[in-house]
Subunit: 422 residues, 2 copies
Amino acid sequence: MQSPTPPEALVEAIDLVLKYQVRTGHPLFFNQLYARADPVAIAADWVVTATNTNSFTYEVSPVYTLIEAETLRKIASCIGGAFADAHDGLFVPGGSISNLYAMHLAHHRANPDLATKGASGGPRCVAFTSDQSHYSYLKAAKVIGLGSDNLVSVRSDGRGRMLADELEVSILRAKADGALPFFVGSTAGTTVLGAYDPFDEISAVCARHGLWHHVDACWGGGALLSEKHRHAMAGASEADSLAWNPHKMSGAALQCSAFLNRHPGLLARVNGTSAAYLFQPDKLNASLDCGDKTIQCGRKADVFKLWALWKAKGDAGMARTVDACFALAAFMAGRLRADPSGQWALAYEPSCSNVCFWYVPRRLRPFSFAASTEAQRAELHGVAPHIKGEMQRRGDAMIGFQAANGRPNFFRMVFAHADAVR
Amino acid sequence: MQSPTPPEALVEAIDLVLKYQVRTGHPLFFNQLYARADPVAIAADWVVTATNTNSFTYEVSPVYTLIEAETLRKIASCIGGAFADAHDGLFVPGGSISNLYAMHLAHHRANPDLATKGASGGPRCVAFTSDQSHYSYLKAAKVIGLGSDNLVSVRSDGRGRMLADELEVSILRAKADGALPFFVGSTAGTTVLGAYDPFDEISAVCARHGLWHHVDACWGGGALLSEKHRHAMAGASEADSLAWNPHKMSGAALQCSAFLNRHPGLLARVNGTSAAYLFQPDKLNASLDCGDKTIQCGRKADVFKLWALWKAKGDAGMARTVDACFALAAFMAGRLRADPSGQWALAYEPSCSNVCFWYVPRRLRPFSFAASTEAQRAELHGVAPHIKGEMQRRGDAMIGFQAANGRPNFFRMVFAHADAVR
């Protein structure tokens, strides 16, 4: 039997949590694609928690419902193109769920019997993503009953960008196999390399073959806010859907994930159940309810932190954060390149604000991946975990590492907030 | 171009939000299955937001990762039976997602090829829920590609409890049709009537036919905390999985939803992708990472508010809240029954803390549903929306209403916090 804990002991427990949780707001936390949350966003989220409601009906969430619609409009206008003309959307719990929504909508568009008859007797649908895409596409393929065999991995170029020609070849091959290609998941800012896929080319391929084009801009979508970097998103505005996580790079506290598509009404048609006890047409203002568009019932008003943050910073302030992250990455990559000692080596040319690099121990210098032996790679592979373990023990910095595309463990330094210093 | 909003204007905006958002913590808010959040839970959630991290790896979320495991153990011990011996679980964003997890796991258990080959060439799987179950089962059936035709609605009795005999007949019929029955979703505390399905009988049927039994205890799961009411959950401990939303009835701020199952390792097997950049085995303490069990990537540490709340209240305090909600419902039902004027009529005998009733206008008194004419029902149907509209305009109270099972609109008064007064 657990007795009540006195308030002072609870306060002590909270102090211990604050002591032992990782300080993700620390200027030397570079481990993830999120980092320091903006104080305005934190305060706004506190308000949402204190008002404790559910964004499923206008009746119980009038202000957040209106703010969500307004903020989605604002994002749609940043995406521009087809999204500015017509859009629909939701704030959802995370980018993986955004990618799931996209694949789910596309799946239903491709197979109109899916909602009633299910997938089992239906066509074998096939989806396409690049070999650099986020693992949530694979999770989504398993959730919607597509299966990993029907998620085709399309090769990327040396910077991590999906090869549109290869995509088209893969689509034609799937058609020849009797399958129904239905979905392409491209990426703006891949997780490891930060690559931006060629959205205009991919949109053209999708249009030619009737596939849904979803842009996972969870990480790199901030480029939409910046005059300087929005060229990287060219063509994304012609996609069918787009996901953006303002809790990455933009300082909205976790979670803050926007999912938009340019097919108004489709979310409600695919996900709607018109639950009689909740979405009664004889209530006041029932037309403003957005719960029937979701795969959730309860949904926290994650939108409010982005709304408050954007109001506080203005468009120019939002753009400045993104520009600062990109500039810091370019600065660091320049420093690594300019170092004559050979102790640093870029594992990839940087994209977005990702810098992928090796620390090269003295006896492996100078290190060139192309010219390296297997033994040298194996030795280098052990370096990053060792350094990271040391960083963690000391508590002075955190930087993620991984092995990818056959390259031994390298550090991925990601600039996810503007407060890092040169 | 949107300019920055000065801080004082932002503060004014927040004041307006607080003014125009519905006061779900008001003692006369009875509209939803959640209501007043406990201040301890709110404070704990504020801490989670301030520490801004992601519960996917131990590395970036050490304290919350350990607290989640500990809290799931605590809940499993409350469920008892098979769950106390072995369990696995997660905190997820809402009860609908919990039900989705359950159906998704069951789907993969029933069809081991699903993860790779997908559903299209596989068996026609069929799931079963009662006609009183939550609409999220239908949403989940559409998400996982099952299709609404393959979600069979099983009749319930006059109190809203699934008829186990009818369930077995439905399963046999599906088998005779060549389908593969795989999942039963029962309910502890149905949304409208608050009914508890006969879990022991359903578990026995599921065991006989090899189906996964999931208990949606999102609303009524609080009964597990109470010596007085846990008899309603008899047999739930032999189910395969269970969902409980402590943001309902227990005062944890939205969202706080626990999903448990008693098949350790299955979540990771079904949802795992072993993303190379995140779940590297060469990191420190990687075995404690729980991200590979989820369908999300980013996941907020919703567990912490329940942990703090439970510590603050102790077992007895948690039980007291549940007992108070049940007692308030029984008290109110008694008052309605004892009223001689005929102005109140119970639409159903109450279960859980739901009281479903009509306000009967003078000329329809005394009202008996069984003896009523269609015209009388139509007239009564318009009463609840009218009264509710008036309550909303005045802002003095909120009580949900709905039509269900052919009965005209009735109020559903739900006691979701212990602070309502007699």
